[in-house]
Subunit: 292 residues, 4 copies
């Protein structure tokens, strides 16, 4: 496939690399041009503007937040104008439900198709093609883009015809992960204070009831107090907690644990931990228990 | 082994049955004598008092709460007096950390050994011998009782020499489960309001990051809105939330999610759901979102 | 003064009436024209559009939320265009801190002055001229508009030169009130369950430590379970809780009680109480305690 | 009146002094005898044991917690035995509802009368006789002890015939104060981050809606960041939060703000602030917002 690719951050870069390796022709754009250059040896073309990338007819955006998406897609001379009738925009970023709705409308008004396809997985998973992609939008369009998804994800799960629903599901998933972080942080603070060995405890818990990757992976980070390398920055955790609360608010769903984890991430950011891994909220929890 | 067994509730009865089937000789006591009679055909002897059961030298208690344990163990003519020097009390109930400490002291003063051995698993797991036993106490005593554990649990995990620590671990585990219940309840309320199919959603989530029994099992109950048969009553969920907060308070560990789930269970109990399965807090969460 | 007045809701109408009675010449605009007609006998002129009202050179907006303000102020043919250089916009609505910043910039770019002047007080207070006005913006402009404030408020308190700060203060005040509602609701649920007479309790509490209008007024509503007539609708309480959290989020300030009351108002709205007085969250709290 | 007085802490000492000055004959007991000696020049007799103090026939206890009360009242050779039939025990400490019930029963069984009479006010108020006393118990007994109340409090408010209800009311009052502390702490963190002057803000808020002593007094401490001298230690705030939650739990009343403030006080205690004034939770709140 001919694909314009916008956004080469710590998720976007390995994803784009896998797409190229699978044989797709990518025209890449990144605000910091150096990162785009990294893909040149693999055969990528470099776009000078988001609009140039969009001229491929199918464009993927993998950017950090709503604002970044709005900046490259909306407004004169941007993706929306450059994509042309019949074009497809696949947004793989974790964005708000309201922006997804707005993008669906805006692209629709131009005779274009908008697909929300957020992904689950940290940078290592992006690197090793173990992402889970959850597209929503017109089914025929998603089927045509399937080869792209196959090149970057180990599984694709179609969510529905309304693009915004994929964003709701993605945000709910990140909420569940954040809930695990907070609850593990509290449990570890408790058992540490009673002298239980954190690693043995984790092994016990993840040996039965909680034998899922999210407990094993994050549990290990917390048990070892080793929050580097950073997989997902706390400021992004805060952003997503805000987005899930916004989506919940719009649908009148009280989510007290979401409120609680938002306050926790906000504390982390206020205290200068914005670039630390989001699992390091366990440090704040431990500190509040008088632990180091 | 010759074992006195006190407590034949929906957990105690199947556990005692498995112990008998494995060849142990049980002298059983239950406040409601009828339940004890059920085991007679299998070969159990019936004790008329807790003290009589304790005369076996090794006694197991599997009762609902602190008060019930205090009633049969402490005070004149009870287990503590009847057990005799060298006796072993294995408490498999989920009790408070402070009572575990007190029992350890009281039995110790009598030249007896106290073992805390709470178990993870619902009644079905007790029935099918798939419990996880986590004993703590004197290692040699635990080794001697191992054949009993083998007859009722699929795995035994030694936690430490201090009995109370097993209770901390058990309570922390129940806390983690309760956190899962609440977070799933919130996530389901959200996605249902956006028209996502609850069963498909659950399949997606438990297909990857959350592929653990606790998510699959409770997730299915919540997705289907089917909270019967009752595995663990809400009033016991409330009790355990209170116990984990008490243990956390004694060690100066703030656990805001524990506070939140306690308030949730308390709401359920105040509204007459004390005998419903604890996972039915999802009904309260859904109701607060205007769902049925 | 010649004043354009936009917004004649249950706050705006009595405020405008008091301004007219004090001798100001008002050109009023309201989306539902009937409410504007009510003021004609007192001498008000009726504007057909927000722009016409703005032609007075000084324009007051008293609308329900951000969207309503944006609709009448921004965009072609609206207040921003019609006000002219040197014009003054006094926004008395409770709006977001971010919109206040944006209005300050937009008006500034047109050579106009923007003043945020939210007010404290319920409709009865507006009627009887007992509002507290808290203007922020250019001091000289505020001084010129002082006669208007004097006609509708019993006190004016200058907050600072940055308009948005008045909105922060207003939102923080509404947050404090909401905190009082929730804490009173919890305290009343507790004492009622122990058989204490609610009115006697209120009298005791407000006789000493808590002898402030906010406790006396809302306490009486809750003690009597009488939430009508509606002074401030729950959906507006929810809006303000959202705005204070947005302002807090932008400044990295975790406010867990604000999160909690937002969840409470959200519950009320989800359950169909959007038009009930915001103090009726006490009904939800009581219901959760098994009370009626 | 002839009165035995047990407990001369930072509340008990000034209260006892005022009672003596008003002409009552006190036989005082304190664990640390030095503090009792201070009252000797005023005419107090020194008791060597709690039992000796109780021999006066009417005995007041003003101790720090449940444990301290149990230690002097229950058990052989303590107040309960020494008081004699017809004796009166007035407990002015803030104790649990369950202990109050137990004391009422125990004294009743001895033909004695138990009165719960907690007081509102900090040490300065005790000093200057501005306490509020809220007795509950047999009305005739309370009337007989009224001269004592008159000598130490500026007002007495009879709560009911069931002693424990006075404790519920007292605990609910402390809960309301703690809610004020937390909500003020959050509001101050917010407005400080937006550059609003804390003292001006406080003046504005307490000039109208919130013109109550609790806002003025604690607000000033928080606005100035001056938490000394210590009026009420954080560890006592934690104790009372625990007691109100216990009372609420026993009556099935969810109180989420009480849970939240308990977690806050617990954090303070875990971080070494157990002896700081409870209002210094505002420091924790500010710190979580990145303020000093």
């Amino acid at each position: 496939m001919e694909i314009g690719w916008i956004g080469l951050g710590n998720m976007g870069l390995p994803m784009a690399r896998n797409a190229i390796k699978a044989g797709h022709h990518l025209m890449v754009y990144n605000r910091t041009r150096e990162r785009a250059q990294e893909l040149k040896p693999l055969g990528a073309k470099i776009a000078n503007t988001p609009a140039e990338a969009a001229s491929a007819g199918t464009v993927v955006t993998m950017l950090s937040d709503d604002q970044a998406i709005e900046d490259v897609v909306l407004g004169p001379g941007k993706v929306l104008n450059a994509l042309g009738a019949g074009g497809v925009h696949v947004c793989m970023s974790t964005i708000s439900v309201s922006l997804a709705k707005r993008l669906a409308e805006s692209h629709g008004a131009q005779g274009q198709t908008y697909i929300s396809c957020p992904v689950f997985g940290r940078p290592e998973a992006a690197e090793s093609k173990r992402l889970l992609a959850i597209p929503a939008g017109r089914r025929d369009a998603i089927e045509r883009v399937q080869p792209l998804f196959d090149s970057i994800a180990s599984a694709t799960h179609f969510i529905g015809e309304d693009p915004a629903v994929a964003n709701v599901v993605k945000l709910s998933g990140n909420f569940l992960i954040a809930s695990v972080l907070e609850s593990l942080a509290e449990a570890f603070a408790l058992i540490r204070k009673y002298g239980v060995n954190a690693k043995e405890y984790l092994e016990l818990m993840t040996g039965s009831l909680f034998n899922a990757p999210v407990y094993k992976g994050y549990g290990a980070l917390i048990a070892e107090g080793k929050y580097e390398p950073v997989g997902f920055r706390m400021v992004l955790g805060l952003k997503d907690a805000g987005l899930v609360l916004a989506a919940a608010g719009a649908a009148a769903v009280p989510m007290p644990i979401a409120s609680l984890v938002r306050d926790r991430f906000l504390t982390g950011v206020a205290r200068g931990m914005q670039d630390a891994d989001w699992s390091s909220i366990a440090r704040l929890v431990a500190e509040n228990a008088g632990l180091k």
